[in-house]
């Protein structure tokens, strides 16, 4: 019997599923709320009793990332590792790493001021899709179809001027069926996949109401997903693919704290159980 810790900041169905599966497998489970946990530079692993391995499941990316850094400072094994979370939480870092590993991904343009982004967009031509480098659930993802839209979006960014608003991540608008594919990878296995169908607009995020439908994982999908997972540093990830009319499958996103509530209900494999088993195998290796 082992002891596993699930770190959360908002207890969702996913964290409760992980807790249940770990308990059903006979392991001790510690549920730890990151919001009320104190760590300092003199802290020791023994002060916390978190067990053999931690699954970091914070809904806030920055909270989870910094909490992971603290746990790794204490020499507590965490999934996903800090380096993986750091890269996957930033779309620009993630895209660069995908391309560096020759993984098919939509063409993406990076600029570091609104003026420079506007100059590039007018040179490349409309439409392009603007995405915040930090963020999820499709928030702030917008197709820029003409100059008026571009100027409005860039002006708002210049006014709000949060640090990440100065980074302009503009991606080709991929011609594809009105759906994308989410594959959950656990280690070097693609364990489940679903199509996420657009509910009207071009976004396919489940959080925005996209309809999930079970997807059979082809060899090509599996190979690409595993390659992307390895490129990021491995662990438990959500790989998002589109079926590009021109280039075939392209990976546009790799997610660090993957949500699986919907997929777990229809998947043939027990996703939370596989996650728990992987975490415990991870520390034995």
């Amino acid at each position: 019997m082992s002891k596993i810790c699930i770190v959360f900041d908002r207890l969702r169905a996913e964290e409760k599923m992980l807790q249940k599966e770990a308990s059903d497998l006979g392991h001790d489970v510690v549920m730890l709320d990151a919001k009320i946990t104190q760590i300092n530079t003199d802290s020791k692993k023994e002060d916390y009793g978190l067990g053999d391995v931690v699954l970091e499941r914070c809904v806030s990316y920055f909270r989870g990332l910094h909490f992971t850094a603290s746990l790794e400072f204490l020499d507590i094994p965490v999934l996903n590792r800090f380096e993986v979370a750091n890269v996957c939480g930033n779309k620009m870092f993630m895209t660069l790493l995908l391309k560096k590993h020759n993984i098919s991904t939509p063409k993406t343009y990076f600029s570091f001021s609104s003026e420079s982004a506007a100059t590039n967009l007018e040179k490349v031509g409309f439409p392009l899709v603007i995405k915040p480098v930090i963020g999820s659930w499709g928030r702030g993802v917008m197709p820029l179809k003409d100059k008026d839209t571009m100027e409005a979006v860039f002006e708002i960014r210049d006014i709000t001027d949060s640090p990440h608003d100065r980074i302009y991540y503009l991606q080709e608008l991929v011609k594809r069926p009105p759906r994308d594919i989410r594959i959950i990878t656990i280690g070097d296995q693609a364990v489940a996949a679903m199509y996420r169908k657009s509910s009207g607009g071009f976004k396919t995020n489940i959080a925005l109401g996209a309809d999930p439908e079970l997807c059979e994982i082809t060899k090509e999908m599996e190979d690409m997903a595993i390659k992307a997972s390895k490129a990021m540093g491995g662990g438990i990830l959500g790989i998002d693919m589109m079926e590009d009319d021109k280039n075939g499958l392209v990976i546009h996103e790799v997610n660090n704290t993957v949500e699986f509530k919907g997929l777990a209900r229809v998947a043939q494999r027990n996703i939370p159980q596989e996650m728990v088993k992987f975490a415990l195998d991870y520390i034995r290796k």
């Binding site: 900041d9 908002r10 806030s60 704290t257």
Partner: protein
């Protein structure tokens, strides 16, 4: 227990855990279960969705 905002009744499921979010059926406010000891439940204001929330 009663909603700290509007005083409407909020039903807390028996199997609810600390850290879970409950919503007031009348005013829609979200609360996080801060403490739970049997039927004694303490609520606190839930965090609102942050720019960095998600996967």
């Amino acid at each position: 227990m009663n909603c700290p905002e509007c005083d409407a009744t909020i039903n807390i499921p028996d199997d609810a855990s600390v850290g879970e979010i409950v919503s007031c059926p009348d005013c829609g406010a979200d609360f996080e279960i801060a403490k739970k000891n049997g039927s004694n439940v303490e609520l606190k204001q839930a965090e609102s969705v942050g720019e960095d929330w998600g996967e």
